[in-house]
């Protein structure tokens, strides 16, 4: 991949990007209260006394949220801090009932780790790059203000108040919008594999604060801006493109970059200043005196590690090495945990007669094609891995041809019936009955005596014609291998 540069009037500029990704922890209950976390519930129905910060209410850490953050840390090879602590970030806002957010500034739960990204998803040979992760800490989400309910008043929905978030802070290691996009996608994949976050950006389960600065290659880091709450991979990339160009324009026209917080406007594709450093809040962080330091014992860490699934990088390496898949196929099949799970269930169901390669090709071309056409995710596939395995087995043992296989698959999609039942009921079973095939070959040769003569005279290409005629006569049910052999024998005698 070529280096990403902004071509300015004064020369080329390099972009430096760091991302702070907020990922909602998958948990039935909030970080410090027992309240539920269902998305889309009626306003203020998922709120406990603690979430509403009633007088005298106290936070109690939810073990499952801590566990998920630790597992996430382990999945990115990060140092897990056995001793961490919660701090209060103090500010007033109507969506923040306590008047402070419980977060971890000074002693985060997870320390440094790394995430490997592919430099070009389409080209596995383009190589990878390790992006450093500075830390992961856990913190509470805030509620939500609703301004569209009343002409002069705003309403507050506290359903999200207190929901557990992981803030995953990268190092300023990315140098292009594409790298940032690949980082967010890879992080999302890992989170979904681990099961610590559903990665659903539309529902706000994942959002990113995008830090961007520009510099002449080789220079020290420039002043950065932070664009808050960007909620899709595409918007992250757009934010970087816009913001880098804006900064170059400012600098080249003699201006300076102000360290500030900005907002992305997805309708116009631009960023806008929200507040500068001068009027930034003084959050008055200090250790939360309602909570003891979080101390993790070895048994807890061991359980976290043991519960981790095979992670995408390891899985991809195994698909290439053990299963002999192409790097591209391995990458595609491991990009989503659901796909890999489906594929592995398919291999189990298909049995030893079906090669992993054949199964991979079928998933990527036939299954993906069909799912794309009917607009369904692999989890909602109308054909199950067991049914797919049955189909592949029939193809592998020669019961049906590849071509027939495609037809059978279409019928499976429509009717939900099993492959064997379809083949049986519709008489699609391929025949290897040499007697029947020889009889048809004899008829074809007799009816095309001129072409037989031409073939024997050296026109080899006519062989395909005889195969086609024979298959047609057999209504497509003849085993192509057998037809080939018998034709060769008949023509060459």
């Amino acid at each position: 991949m070529s280096e990403y540069r902004i071509h300015g009037a004064t020369g080329d500029w390099e972009v430096v990007i760091g991302l702070e990704v907020h990922a909602q922890v998958t948990s039935k209950a909030k970080l410090f209260s027992g309240a539920a976390t269902a998305f889309g519930a009626e306003p203020n129905t998922q709120v406990s006394l603690v979430d509403a910060a009633m007088p005298g209410m106290l936070p109690v850490p939810n073990r499952e949220c801590i566990r998920q953050a630790v597992r996430t840390g382990m999945a990115i090879d990060a140092a897990i801090n056995k001793w961490s602590r919660f701090d209060r970030k103090n500010y007033f806002y109507a969506d923040l009932p306590q008047g402070y957010q419980i977060s971890q500034l000074y002693h985060p739960l997870v320390g440094e780790g790394r995430i490997e990204i592919a430099l070009d998803d389409k080209n596995p040979d383009a190589g990878t790059k390790a992006i450093g992760v500075e830390r992961i800490h856990v913190e509470q989400d805030a509620g939500k203000l609703m301004h569209d309910q009343h002409p002069t008043r705003s309403y507050v929905d506290l359903n999200r108040s207190g929901v557990a978030l992981m803030e995953i802070v990268s190092k300023p290691d990315m140098r292009s919008p594409a790298e940032a996009g690949a980082y967010v996608r890879k992080l999302r994949t890992i989170l979904r594999y681990v099961g610590s976050c559903d990665g659903n950006m539309e529902e706000g389960s994942m959002r990113a604060d995008v830090n961007v600065s520009v510099r002449k290659p080789g220079d020290a880091f420039g002043t950065r801006t932070e664009t808050k709450n960007v909620n899709s991979v595409r918007f992250v990339m757009q934010t970087i493109e816009y913001e880098a160009q804006r900064q170059v324009d400012v600098l080249e026209s003699g201006g300076t970059i102000v360290q500030e917080t900005r907002l992305f406007d997805p309708d116009k594709g631009v960023t806008r200043s929200m507040r500068s450093k001068e009027d930034a809040h003084d959050y008055r962080y200090f250790p939360d005196p309602d909570l003891l330091p979080l101390e993790l014992d070895d048994a807890f860490l061991e359980e976290c590690r043991a519960s981790l699934p095979e992670l995408p990088d390891a899985k991809r390496a195994r698909y290439e090495g053990e299963l002999g898949l192409s790097p591209y196929n391995a990458a595609v099949l491991t990009a989503e945990g659901e796909t890999a799970r489906w594929f592995e269930a398919l291999l189990d169901a298909a049995g030893s007669t079906v090669t992993a390669k054949a199964a991979a090709n079928w998933v990527i071309s036939d299954l993906f094609g069909a799912l794309n056409r009917i607009g369904k995710d692999i989890e909602a596939s109308p054909v199950t891995p067991a049914q797919g395995g049955e189909l592949l087995r029939l193809i592998a043992d020669g019961t049906i041809s590849n071509t027939l296989g495609k037809q059978v698959f279409e019928i499976m999609l429509e009717t939900g019936e099993g492959a064997e039942a379809i083949v049986e009921a519709r008489g699609l079973k391929q025949t290897s009955d040499t007697g029947a095939i020889e009889a048809e070959i004899a008829k074809v040769l007799a009816a095309n005596a001129d072409k037989v003569a031409d073939y024997r005279g050296g026109k080899d290409k006519l062989f395909g014609f005889f195969v086609g005629q024979t298959m047609k006569a057999m209504a497509g049910k003849a085993n192509p291998g057998v037809v080939n052999d018998l034709l060769k024998k008949a023509l060459d005698q």
């Binding site: 006394l49 007088p55 402070y100 705003s154 003084d282 309602d290």
Partner: protein, 494 residues
Amino acid sequence: MTDLTDLTVAGLRDGFRAGDFTAREAAEAFNTAVAGAKALNAFIVETPEHALAAADAADAARAAGEAPKPLAGVPIGMKDLFATKGVQTTAASHILEGFTPTYESTVSQKLWDAGAGMLGKLNLDQFAMGSSNETSFFGNVISPWRRKDGGNAALTPGGSSGGSASAIAARLCPAATGTDTGGSIRQPAAFVGISGIKPTYGRCSRWGTVAFASSLDQAGPMARDVTDCAIMLEAMSGFDPKDATSLDLPVPAWEAGLSPDMTGKRIGIPKEYRVDGMPAEIEALWQQGIEWMRDAGAEIVEVSLPHTKYALPAYYIVAPAEASSNLARYDGVRFGQRELPEGANLQDMYAATRAAGFGDEVKRRILIGTYVLSAGFYDAYYTQAQKVRTLIAQDFEKAWAVCDLLLTPTAPSAAFALGEKQADPLAMYLNDVFTVPASLAGLPAMSVPGGLDGAGLPLGLQVIGRPLDEQGVLNAGLAIEQRAGFSARAEKWW
């Protein structure tokens, strides 16, 4: 028949069990006393019906032959810092005026579960911030005590648990809950001649108690004697999974373990507690206390707690810092008072609500706390204060190598007149000089009455113990109590 309001918790409990009187009779006697003592302003809300309902339940249970609950037949007072379901809970602040919780604090629930009834919600310094009960939005609490100098100056009952202190001293309730952040149980107990114990931090759940300074706040009982404190503390203590700082330990049988025998105990006398300007009478009482301890069989050892002089400044950084954050939730958005001037935006509403809702002392501490946590000042103040706190805890740790308990005066003076120190916050803060160190270290500490000063006002002695050694503290308190024979009571003028 004796006046039931003269009975202690143990006396009420045992008399009820023996059938000497009904629980209803006891509740009615105290309800009458409460209703007749408005001049003391000890209660913000009176709840005679609550006391009667608990009494009727106790009487019915006894009639049915059920085993009596630990506090059956005993009505008590509840500091208005504890959330009580269906009963206004204000922390003595205008900002919570009219706030009626839908939930019950863990400590009050434990007391109701033990069979106690509630006579009412007791007045206090606003958000427990004060040492004289002069910061309450609902007016000063008046001590039942008066100086024997012919003057009629209204005296402070101390603070912040001033309503609890005044009500017990005036026999309006046999016992009450208190909370102690820097001395708010011990100093008022000393000022009115009663006993009070702050247990080890974490013994009593903080859930449902309006927070002042989370790392210091600890509930405890106030009562007329040490035995009653033990009975009450047993009912109030215990692990609460809803409080992450609650201690997951069984509750000892403190009452059964009471013993005034100090044989084999080493009592430390910290030399740093001899402060300049301390009245000679307090110095003399301390010496008397040492003699009592010796008489009870204890060995007396001089100890040094070298960082004591830094305790007060550290406390007045840590406590306001936590308070400034804890009180951020009183913003007018979800409950309590809301001030919404014409055309006000959100920030205007916050400012107006908090300006009108908080009293001066609360505002002062929020400002101090906000300042010491601010960028650029955090390390110089908060971090430094936390280091001092560690050093103070280490002072105590070292002392425990040579002694089992510490004996000190509770406060550097007897009760002062209302208004006397109000203009000088620093003089007011100095009242906490002997009580704050144990709070910073989270240690159990209690005050017991030792005698009267020349003006006829009570003075208290403080016993401080190792973490979790409430039994040792109570026992030393009992040894003092038996030797002091403190029986003085305020003459009724209200």
